[in-house]
């Protein structure tokens, strides 16, 4: 079974938002907060993946401007795209782990009482 914390009063419990760990409400909070973060960050990528082919199609002169020998669109897709994935992944990890920590502080086990 899941171990219930042994101390009588938990120091990490956030009294203002505490809720039963097995409640519908808590599950919703856990899933919705994480999903919202993932959707927000993935929206940046969806925009790039949908937008770049359209930009290439409708604005070929701008996208094929030469920069340092490359075309703008080659430089973006072949080189600069990767650091962008790192940045977004980095933001996601730090926010998501911080969020997990906070969500954990709201969890209340059966037998515990909110103060």
């Amino acid at each position: 079974m899941n171990p219930v914390p042994t101390e009588a009063v938990r120091t990490d419990l956030n009294p203002e938002r505490s809720m039963d760990v097995h409640s519908e409400q808590y599950l919703n909070v856990v899933m919705v907060t994480q999903l919202r973060l993932s959707l927000k960050l993935s929206a940046i990528f969806v925009a790039i993946l949908l937008g770049l082919p359209l930009a290439n199609f409708y604005f070929p002169e701008i996208m094929n401007t030469r920069i340092l020998g490359f075309t703008a669109t080659w430089l973006f897709l072949g080189v600069l795209f990767y650091p962008l994935t790192w940045l977004i992944a980095k933001i996601y990890i730090s926010k998501s782990l911080a969020m997990e920590h906070e969500i954990a502080s709201w969890a209340m086990w059966p037998g515990e009482e909110a103060k």
Partner: protein, 690 residues
């Protein structure tokens, strides 16, 4: 060209010995079934991210992307970019919940998440299908690479790579290959980057070479030219013996040839006729022969040994005397220019046609600078709907990456969901650093080794640019080119070996854990399970080697495409829904996964049957309906939504098939580790007595 390439041989031998050595060394610490399947769930972030990257960077990434960039240009940049972006979606939506579930294999997850043993059976079929489709190109790559280095028969490379990896997997399972894959990631990173920097020092940088390709006005029409006199060998297999001449080219048939002459582009039936005599300006020989080639009677012109030919510049097609206009990639009307195409067959008694091209001649088969450099070139504009093709490619690769079982299963080797997230981040960094380089080989290859365009497919085509390009440095420093080519050969071998080892663990897991452990003998003792893993590894490895020997003439990209399309339309929708939608029912997920996967597979097989003229009626229908043809060749754009729709509606129709304890399952998937809710679906067993 028949002497053994000693320097690459030494590098490859060293790599193979190091791989076996690492496997034997790690094997001493393998104690339990958990070690075999998920490396004891204790792989550190740095080790695991290198191992995942090592496994992911297959021969297709190492050699294929470089070759395709050289051949098609900009459009191919989507492949490496999307392999990386696919990983980002995996991180954002799947990695950490999947790990928290604590299974050994993806079929475990399917069964456990939906409380449905039937689902495990369906999932196993897809693991085996995707795994075997993905294995065959690795095997083919190994066979072809060894042909280049040692001139052995094709099967030797297949058996060598197959046997080494089967040995490692059978000995050490997941734990054994984790070290090897991590080590080989760094081999590959070294092998792709160091030769590039040394090439830069001698021949100029990436931007310098990119700057030589024009895209404005006349500069955009420039074509690569031979840098030296070359003799190119054309074997009589399609498509290698079919040569398109993008400009006027003069060549000499060293041993003579029987030649079919045709326009390289389809001309509408109502256009003014384009006589074949106009395509070869040097005139056609009077002697001809009519032969039956793939069901059609074809007139072949007989060129004697030493006979020369000169092809025409592309001819403007016309209709009723007026120039015939077609839409270019951006929809603007341009005149239809038709180049000449020669299909060459060796004369009696010869096994190949040899054509001599003089220095300065235009290289056959090469696209012009502008089409190569700019988006919507020869890859995506094949059927005239480049934007549609691009979008479908994007969906296929992003969703396919997030649905490849052999990649997903590596996340179970992380200690918990948090480390799974950190691992996915570092994988992105390692992959991104790697993927900058293959397009560099493609660009440098176009400017420094254009002779590789002269044959389509086979050992000396653009596919081998990574192995051939470094050799140009032999003229600067003796042996430097050979040493660098040896390094890239070792990198290519690391590509076949790591990807195959990941696939073999995944296939072995399906056989030993899902089929033997959960269907045949549910009460197997730990020692029986360990033995079953080893036997299953040998069975799967042997099967992969056997299949590998049959695929010498298959197209690598076609096989990889199958694996991605099936994964995108089957596993990806199933996973995303299982992780984020509580109302998904077992029936719904299974129907969606089967429906999407089978529909994608059927579409791809139909294009193959049309191409090989098995169904000529379908081929002509596809020719008249390019949109459908595009959708069938790149099915992800409709097959992924189809799978999601099926899951949605069937789930709503079968609410009783939603697991009763769904709330607990979802909590296990999503709850932070700090809550200690972790409830590994497959419990680790104590070590068997030794």
């Amino acid at each position: 060209m028949n002497e053994i390439a000693w320097i690459p041989l030494i590098f490859v031998t060293f790599l193979v010995i190091a791989t076996i050595g690492l496997g034997v060394w790690v094997q001493r610490s393998v104690r339990s079934t958990s070690d075999m399947y998920v490396a004891g769930r204790s792989v550190s972030v740095s080790m695991n991210s290198a191992a995942i990257s090592g496994e992911y960077l297959s021969a297709a990434s190492f050699m294929g992307v470089a070759g395709m960039v050289m051949k098609f240009g900009y459009d191919v940049l989507w492949y490496p970019t999307l392999y990386a972006a696919g990983y980002l979606f995996l991180l954002l939506f799947i990695a950490s919940p999947l790990r928290r579930f604590g299974a050994y294999t993806i079929p475990d997850f399917a069964e456990g998440r939906f409380s449905s043993p039937v689902f495990r059976k369906i999932a196993v079929i897809f693991v085996l299908a995707i795994g075997l489709f993905y294995t065959m190109p690795q095997m083919k790559g190994a066979g072809v690479a060894l042909v280049n280095i040692l001139h052995t028969p094709y099967w030797v490379g297949v058996v060598l790579v197959g046997a080494v990896i089967t040995f490692n997997v059978a000995l050490g399972g997941m734990k054994g290959i984790t070290f090897v894959q991590a080590f080989q990631y760094w081999v590959k990173m070294f092998a792709i980057s160091v030769p590039v920097f040394i090439l830069f020092a001698f021949v100029g940088g990436y931007h310098t070479h990119m700057g030589t390709f024009g895209n404005e006005g006349e500069a955009g029409k420039a074509l690569p030219r031979f840098h030296d006199d070359y003799q190119i060998t054309y074997k009589p297999v399609a498509p290698a013996n079919s040569i398109t001449f993008p400009g006027s080219v003069t060549g000499t048939f060293a041993n003579g040839a029987e030649v079919a002459v045709a326009p390289a582009k389809k001309v509408p039936a109502d256009a003014d006729p384009l006589p074949v005599e106009a395509l070869v300006t040097s005139g056609l020989p009077a002697q001809t022969v009519v032969r039956e080639i793939s069901g059609k009677e074809v007139t072949l012109y007989i060129f004697k040994a030493g006979a020369s030919f000169t092809t025409t510049d592309p001819i403007a097609a016309s209709r009723g005397g007026q120039p015939l206009l077609v839409a270019d990639a951006h929809g603007n009307p341009v005149p239809l220019m038709v180049p000449a195409k020669l299909t060459v067959y060796p004369p009696g008694g010869q096994d190949a046609v040899v054509i001599k091209y003089a220095r300065g001649e235009i290289v056959p088969n090469a696209p012009a600078d502008k089409t190569w450099l700019e988006p919507f070139g020869p890859l995506t504009n094949k059927y005239g709907h480049p934007v549609l093709y691009t979008y479908s490619l994007i969906i296929a690769i992003v969703c396919g990456t997030a649905g490849l079982p052999h990649v997903l299963v590596r996340f179970y080797t992380n200690p918990d969901g948090r480390t799974a997230k950190r691992t996915a981040f570092w994988v992105l960094v390692l992959l991104g650093c790697f993927y900058i380089f293959p397009p560099v080989f493609g660009a440098l290859g176009r400017s420094m080794a254009p002779q590789l365009y002269a044959v389509v497919g086979g050992s000396y085509s653009t596919d081998s640019v990574v192995l051939i390009l470094p050799k140009i440095l032999n003229q600067n420093v003796a042996y430097l080119g050979d040493i660098l080519s040896g390094i890239t050969s070792a990198g290519a071998f690391a590509g076949f070996m790591t990807t195959f080892s990941g696939l073999l663990v995944s296939l072995t897991g399906a056989l030993a854990h899902d089929i033997y452990g959960n269907m045949v003998n549910k009460r197997a003792t730990p020692i029986q399970k360990l033995t079953a893993f080893r036997i299953a590894a040998v069975i799967a490895g042997t099967l992969a080697m056997l299949l590998g020997t049959f695929v010498e003439n298959f197209d690598i990209n076609m096989m990889v495409g199958w694996a991605f399309a099936i994964a995108a339309a089957s596993y990806f929708p199933m996973l995303i829904v299982s992780v984020w939608w509580r109302k998904a029912s077992a029936t719904g997920a299974a129907v969606g996964m089967l429906g999407g996967g089978m529909a994608a597979l059927t579409a791809i097989v139909s294009t193959m049957l049309a191409d090989k003229q098995v169904l000529p009626a379908l081929a002509s229908w596809y020719a008249q309906n390019p949109v459908w043809r595009t959708l069938a060749e790149q099915p992800a754009i409709w097959a992924v939504p189809l799978a999601l729709f099926l899951i949605y509606f069937v789930s709503l129709a079968t609410p009783t098939a939603v697991p009763a304890d769904i709330r607990h399952k979802m909590l296990v998937l999503h709850a932070p580790e700090e809550l200690n809710l972790k409830d590994e679906y497959i419990k680790d067993e104590p070590a068997p007595a030794r």
